[in-house]
Amino acid sequence: MSWLPATAGGATPLDRVFGLRPDLYEPFRAFYAVFWSDRLLDPVVLELARLRVAQLLRCESEQQVRYAPALDAGLTEEQIARLPDWPRDSAFTDAQRAALAFAEQFVLDPHGIDDDCRDAVIDHLERPGLVALCEALALFDGFCRFRTILGVEAPGAVQTVPAPAAAMSLA
């Protein structure tokens, strides 16, 4: 339960906090969902980036969520368990490594993203993919902080949920 003295209704902890501002929650969900509905990035790359941001920011509620499209595309719990050690782990593809290096630097110091880091993403994801990755990382980074600061409750165990959609609750 959030520390907020009053929460909204809803099916998920995020619903009950963000639902206090339904006029913002609805367009937020519509924006969030587009990364999956329009497949702006490979779903495994997207999921690894989201989870790595959550790990760096120690956001428990975000780390407990798995979006089904990534699992359907081959992401496993074993690979997720190895994510903190990705620079030394051969389980990650070159495209995933490029995105993870970019994601880590995005969170820690965006001015530290040099030409090599950026060009590696472009080589694998092309320029529209780089833009999509930046937008996704801005969402993941910002809303890990949102969840942490407002005390959005983490589920007791890992939960796999469908791809986000504008009309659905967010886990």
Binding site: L24, P27, A30, V34, D38, A132, E135
Partner: protein, 55 residues
Amino acid sequence: MPARHPIRGDVLALQPEASARFWRLYGHLWAHGVLDHGIKEVARLRNARITDCGY
């Protein structure tokens, strides 16, 4: 040739649907809500300064 917006016209145009949904959310954030514009602007500028974002 008319000047292009450096973010809308060049960068975000590479992802038009995401851009449209972002601007809908961002526009709503600025045009509505319970915080006055001064607080939003101070927070925005302070965030930009901390992250050393010149834009």
